[in-house]
Symmetry: D2
Subunit: 351 residues, 4 copies
């Protein structure tokens, strides 16, 4: 990536001496950047135009006379629309997501058994899903909760995926698991708690399979784009951003689904954006309305928890749809997908 | 309203003595409530069934041995679906909102001049709005910002409303202004900063005009329903709830529009729910996608800022649509409204 | 107040034409402000130095080519340390707060009866409090909760205050009540829900008695300073800022007491800052440790809920101290007040 | 650990049939738990007393008729005060923390060079610190920021630690690094972004060195105690909890330091609690006041960023103290430590 020029604004504290100002200006000039001097009566503002990494090397923020340094442009580059104005299309198995293609990923929160996976896989395929999800490694808040079946779960997911012909999506928890997950799944999912696990992101940046990056519970949109930048800057451009709710003061719902993030991300980045209304609400009866809302505001896909029998689900039962509810939702989504100017991703459309 | 029985759970601290337990149980019984005794090895739990206001009178939370008291049912009653299972329909002028009727309220943030109001009123009417908004009293964070035209602004709003034939919606800031506002407007709007101004709510509860209650920036959904309960319990059932974004850590958008609140409110309350995507995003280009999302998740209406010339707007210019953008949005909304099973509120349909 | 110059930064979108740039620069120059032109390869940044209110009049944010406008200095003036470098001292009755004098305000959440006020007033005086609090008008989330005794409560507060010789502090809910409150109390308290009730702030700005301004539940520190600016800019400089906890995702405590705000406010503003650990925690056993922490980080005073018999308190019983606990806390605070370089405000020290 | 009985409350939806109720009661009874039946007019509440993990196995939350299940006691056990009423003391090198012993950990954010580590180590030792911190692996929001020196950094930390005689504290990013970190450091630090990296926590639970567990940016106090429970339940009781600020809407400071958490954690858990005012504020001038506040509200120690020359720091310069500022803070802390009833941890006091 060619280093771009970008202006940076340096606000000085009141009473900064002329000597301090001159020292900073000459340090800026010494790096080859173009210094700017903007005196005021109350305060002086300095500027610098050029590669901000060169400026960062000066560590001007450490000067006592510097109150604040404001980078003027966004800190992410490769994932930005400025870098790549057209929407990216990512392929999952033989389906496409982004650029007008809409894809639904569905399946249970956790892989529990062969039977559960097969029955749920058939149900989500019948309903019209384009990919199958299922977690083998489950990060759980309490050490006393079910933690997933691990490698055995990965194999069950792979088998169910092959049998029903849907690509498999599963969460990878750390760099050491990437190989094992890659052997069984078509898409890596990075969970909320790992969105800023930069080791994991870096390793996934060297893989060739797509990565679904879920927003951290307290991650800003910019944090999320920077996390994606970790993956893309290592060489893997197949990143799908996933809004799944943030943590706020509201306790009526499990999380606050931040749908503002969808059009905002679409306006700033070329990457596909999907929404997980299951975690984003935590309440079964809110999944369908929020899935429709996600479509309406421009999402490229959905990730929905479905269980062939939610009353027996070992995790997230209260937010899982049963096969009938899922099929009903898929039918109801159709007019919204059409109104949003998108088409449902079909298999085999990639030449 | 007949007092309903509801169970209340009282968790005692470890090591609570038998004497304390007996005292609490006998105080509960003394009020006529039915006491429950649920001993455990680590902890004892007590319960009470009956009118929770009677229980509240005992102030058991003040006992040192009481760790927590959990009311089992919701604290709001009149606005709850349990009290009134069918959706309420509120009439604004001769239009209806709720029960399948969808209404768009549009207009400028602030009334600025006669010309501005007339031109904007014509534009929103042409675009298909069902009511005209415009603020005469503007609560502003800084004392140095434009604070609205006051009474003169109310009159300009009234005149524009009459001329274009759309009912007028405007914010009322305090109890002392209710009469003046009622003389010029068809609908009272309670702003975010006033959602918990209980004096104002109580006075509005004695009026006969509808009240749009905007969610406070840090108000939970339950807080909002309790604020509505203030109005309804005084005798005015014409309350419309408005989601307009909450304050979170995210700074990319002005607020985080909590669309989860829409289906949640619809499932708990019979009151109509509308959404304000202008304040909920703060960014013009996000207004249209989030308006569509609001429709998709079940909102009964929208409140949208429109200005005949946003480049000259005295407040909220960056989030205001111009007439062309508004007309385009209204056309684009149609298939979403239909898909959501609603119809656009037309004038004169009330016999 | 003389208008101060301050630099303002205007970030343009990529591809802004030279014609648009020239138009903006000439509009800035046309107002008499000094325009700044800072071209970059990717983006152009413009600046303006002068009175920001003049710039605000141009409404440049409404131009399609303008991405963001960043005011460089703080928007508050009169309350800022730049305007008034020395710490302000506010007098409450014949005590002082600020400038090294530390004051504790204590009393019940709500005035409930003559006996309660007298007994609690005696207790807080004996414990060493410098002022007596008690609420006559209680804003309550539920319409079914106790709403205070109103005018009768104000009189009970006044009587208890006279009897024990401590100045009286009480909440005022709206502009219409200011006169009645002023007749009975020495200090106006603006509650959290009213921090942005600008009508009320404006009326209090024309009074001569001190105002305790409590931080809104979702108010930023800057919002709070701007609310204080409303009062001071009307002519009443006797404002005391009160940190009382903000609303966050944490539910273990009633609010998250933001003690960072204390040294931050002290470094930016000359106004005295106090802390309310009762509302800031909501838990009796956290009041004492957080009161000590408030002293340690530089607070000028405390506001503490005390009830002569918390088991009978009609509101906030679980966070109220009893007389013995209050006296113990006051003794325990002493070494912290000394270590913080402050002295407890004594009566009669004002000549 | 013996499974404890604890009551669990099951709220049923209105209109639940007698048949559903009986089915649930008989399933509860079938597990050996004691079922409770609490009928009301509007709603029925069921209860169960016994091991909640047995109840969790029934997955009653998946029943359509179940509205909410409320566990009555806390989900953490081993870290709770109920399990272990006396305060735990953890030893770091030959110093103690907890149970009245107060320890300050200080050093640079990142290890940058041998010279930097040695000079800073000498400075913090001279100032009175009891342990040396320094990060070799730096998780950074942007892929373009300095990521730490890695293994070479670990060795520099180890050398500086040996030379100055202070135990070394450093962050470990993932399970694969635990061995390398253990070879160079005396204490593992789990960073905010990893608080819920359960793989890492589990591996650290099998180590014998102490673990400092930093609170996640959006982690509740309960989440934090459950993360500690992961470590302790694997066999390592040497856990130190660290409050370092949470993410809220406030942007004036880098994070909102939640000091409420200190006395709350101390009242619920036996583990030592320390505070990081450097990350908790992000502003150098707030470090000293918030360090004092942390002492005052009961913290057992502090973690403070110190750099021998903050103007050259490669990360977190703006929140780092220089040696003179650190020495001044340590002197100023003394009376607060004494007032809080603690003593500064000295070396060699462990027999």
């Amino acid at each position: 990536m060619k280093n771009k020029e970008r202006p940076i604004i340096i606000l000085l504290k009141p009473d900064t001496t002329r000597r301090d100002i001159d020292e900073i200006l000459s340090r800026i000039a010494g790096t080859g950047l173009k210094p700017l001097y903007m005196p005021g009566i109350e305060r002086t503002v300095l500027g610098a135009i050029g590669d901000e990494r060169v400026l960062a090397g000066l560590r001007l923020e450490n000067y006592a006379c510097v109150e604040r340094i404001t980078p003027v442009l966004t800190p992410y580059k490769l994932v930005s629309k400025e870098a790549h104005p057209a929407e990216s299309v990512v392929t999952i198995g033989d389906r496409r997501i982004g650029g007008g293609d809409f894809l639904v990923i569905a399946g249970p929160c956790a892989v529990e058994s062969e039977e559960q996976m097969c029955r749920t896989a058939e149900a989500v395929k019948a309903g019209g899903a384009g990919a199958l999800r299922g977690g083998a490694f489950k990060p759980r808040t309490s050490p006393y909760s079910f933690q997933g079946l691990g490698l055995r779960g990965l194999e069950m997911l792979r088998d169910a995926s092959k049998q029903c012909g849907l690509p498999a999506v599963t969460e990878v928890l750390e760099a050491a698991d990437v190989e094992a997950v890659a052997a069984c799944a078509d898409v890596f999912q990075v969970g909320s708690r790992n969105m800023q696990n930069y080791r994991l992101l870096t390793v996934l940046g060297r893989q060739h399979k797509p990565v679904i990056l879920k927003r951290g519970m307290s991650a800003t949109i910019e944090d999320m784009l920077l996390a994606a930048e970790y993956i893309v800057s290592e060489g893997n451009p197949r990143v799908i951003l996933c809004e799944r709710g943030i943590r706020t003061f509201e306790t009526a719902t499990r999380n606050t689904l931040d749908l503002n993030a969808v059009p905002f991300l679409k306006s700033r980045s070329h990457l596909p954006v999907i929404v997980d209304p299951s975690h984003g609400t935590g309440l079964r009866e809110l999944v369908a309305p929020m899935a429709k809302a996600a479509v309406a505001c421009g999402a490229d896909g959905l990730m929905i928890e479905v269980h062939h029998d939610p009353t027996t689900a070992m995790s997230d039962g209260p937010q899982s749809l049963d096969p009938g509810q899922f099929a009903g939702l898929m039918r109801d989504l159709d007019p919204f997908i059409t109104a949003a100017g998108k088409r449902t991703a079909a298999a085999g459309i990639i030449e």
